[in-house]
């Protein structure tokens, strides 16, 4: 194209109007940029204020004693030992139930299930399950695990309730990471004579561990903050003892007794303290909240790191 300014001659007013319109469009552009920035900062600000508030009220209470003491009538002596141990053990139960069930269901739906009405129906309902209010899972667990299976108001019942709650997250994460593996990889394995299970076990699972673990961590960080289902099944709010140790001195050296122990957890302990009068209990609640918050945020950070790493290591 020649650069002689073109052959079309236009009146000055044309360029004037064009300039005016351009100024107007630039204005809208700039307005949206500012609006977007303000909204983003506001959202982050809320999180910041929340953390700051928790930190100001609770940071002073966090010390070694707070972590190693049982709850107490005297706010100054109370701690979260039974709560964080309870939370930890709950997560052990939740993970050991949700990971195998969720990953297996995800693999089945993605790799084995025939594509028909029935699987569509199952799929839709798994997405629906993810939206069910958590207290309903508590009600179901109360009926099924506590009364029907006679697990009692125990760590086992609580952990399983949370596992049901996060199961859809694990299933969806598993399916999504399997779906990112191109079908050419599956065909390569099958063409060499692999069975479906060998293709899954030797290839699809190893190549999707990054995505699956990310999903599992996010699921756990969701479960760790839940209180409604635990309160529904009757988790106690005042526990001044620890569940029996899982390791014992005599054969067979492991014991499942702790599974049937009553328990409390961090969010429940918080709930208990918040509902008490007295400023000291409020700062106990803030301290417990701060710890919960730190745990959740670091789990999310781990999930992000894991996803980044997984993306970097595998290319197709």
């Amino acid at each position: 194209m020649p650069c002689d300014g073109g052959s079309i001659v236009r009146p000055k007013s044309f360029y004037h109007a064009q300039e005016k319109r351009a100024r107007h469009r630039r204005l809208i552009d700039r307005a949206f940029r500012w609006l977007g920035m303000i909204l983003t900062v506001t959202t982050l600000g809320v999180l910041g204020v929340l953390l700051l508030n928790l930190a100001m009220n609770g940071l002073g209470r966090i010390d070694w004693n707070f972590l190693t003491s049982f709850p107490s009538r005297r706010a100054g002596e109370a701690g979260i030992l039974s709560a964080w141990v309870g939370t930890l053990l709950l997560m052990v139960v939740t993970a050991s139930a949700a990971i195998p069930f969720g990953v297996a269901a995800g693999i089945y739906l993605e790799e084995y299930a025939p594509k028909n009405r029935m699987t569509d129906f199952v799929e839709i309902n798994i997405s629906n399950l993810a939206g069910v209010p958590s207290i309903l899972y508590g009600l179901m667990a109360l009926g099924l695990f506590v009364y029907q299976f006679r697990f009692g108001q125990s760590l086992l019942a609580g952990g399983l309730a949370l596992a049901c709650l996060v199961l859809p997250i694990v299933i969806v994460a598993t399916r999504e990471s399997l779906r990112t593996i191109p079908s050419s990889i599956r065909e390569a394995a099958f063409a060499l004579g692999a069975t479906r299970w060998q293709a899954v076990w030797h290839h699809l699972l190893p190549y999707s561990t990054g995505g699956i673990s990310t999903g599992v961590i996010l699921a756990m960080s969701r479960a760790i903050g839940e209180s409604a289902p635990l309160i529904t099944i009757g988790a106690l709010t005042f526990i001044a003892f620890l569940p029996p140790a899982p390791l014992i001195a005599h054969a067979p050296f492991v014991s499942g007794e702790w599974l049937f122990s009553p328990f409390t957890a961090l969010p429940i302990q918080m709930f208990n303290w918040v509902s008490r009068p007295g400023e000291e209990f409020q700062s106990n609640a803030a301290a417990a909240g701060l710890i919960l918050m730190v745990i959740t945020l670091s789990m999310n950070a781990a999930a992000i790191l894991l996803r980044k790493r997984a993306q970097r290591n595998i290319t197709w």
Binding site: I185, A191, L192, G193, T195, N313
Partner: protein
């Protein structure tokens, strides 16, 4: 091969003189359906042993479908149906018979795909995988067979110093040669190539072509190609397919210089396709 009689089929050209007239695979009245849609219409042809047989024809003619019948790849997807027989010599097994395990079939028919598809594992593990599936797990035996396969795929010199690096660090052409090594490591009877060079540049393509010609010394090769020059350069036999039917099948030289059917001539001379 033992007593496999040279299947007398009317209408094809008389057998040419030569030492290796053995038939490896007899495709007999093969039809194939995706649901209700018929993709192959009663295809019959005898694939000679230790030769390169090219399948040519315009897009959608069924040549890739035919190739994927040979290792029962279609069984992976629902709603497919085979009619007819694919008999492999010397044992005379009909590999599409319902009682035959597709996994057994795939161990006898190696496959190389259109796009290089190495596993995201090391070069070594890629080649060793088929061997491991067949129960080879002695380190020494694996090492030997992996080296042999890589040598046969003309990749050994480039790969020997980095056997345990990820396969994806290789170039596209090298990746495709790795896929060939992976397919031949288990000593299959037949290797199926599905447009193996369509994603490669001309230099990488010519390397793969040389390799295929070299391979036929010890394995029967079937190759689907869109590239007529390629079929002419590397194949001994050519099958021209159109709309799911086998129009003509014969020696490549004769097919390209003196085709018997007008459709073949039209396609080869570039009048359609």
């Amino acid at each position: 091969m033992n007593s496999s009689s040279p299947n007398p089929r009317a209408g094809t050209e008389p057998p040419t003189a030569g030492s290796s007239e053995a038939i490896k695979v007899q495709i007999q009245g093969l039809s194939f359906f995706y649901g209700n849609h018929q993709v192959l219409r009663s295809v019959s042809m005898d694939v000679p042993a230790l030769k390169v047989t090219a399948l040519i024809g315009p897009s959608g003619c069924g040549k890739t479908t035919l190739l994927r019948c040979m290792n029962r790849m279609h069984d992976l997807y629902p709603g497919n149906r085979y009619v007819g027989r694919i008999v492999v010599q010397p044992d005379g097994t009909d590999i599409i018979a319902p009682e035959v395990d597709p996994i057994q079939v795939r161990m006898r028919f190696g496959m190389v795909f259109q796009k290089p598809n190495p596993f995201p594992k090391s070069i070594y593990e890629n080649v060793a995988y088929g061997l491991r599936l067949q129960g080879v797990n002695q380190r020494k035996e694996l090492d030997e067979k992996v080296e042999k396969a890589l040598r046969e795929a003309a990749l050994w010199d480039e790969a020997k110093s980095r056997l345990h690096q990820m396969a994806h660090n290789l170039s596209g052409g090298q990746q495709q040669r790795l896929c060939i090594a992976r397919a031949i490591a288990t000593d299959p009877d037949v290797v199926l190539f599905d447009e193996p060079t369509s994603a490669l540049d001309p230099i990488a393509t010519s390397k793969i072509e040389e390799l295929i010609v070299e391979l036929k010394k010890r394995v029967t090769v079937m190759i689907v190609t869109h590239n007529l020059q390629q079929a002419g350069r590397i194949s001994d036999m050519t099958a021209f397919m159109y709309l799911g039917e086998l129009i003509e099948f014969g020696e490549t030289n004769r097919m390209f210089t003196n085709p018997a059917k007008p459709q073949t001539e039209d396609y080869i001379s570039g009048r359609f396709g």
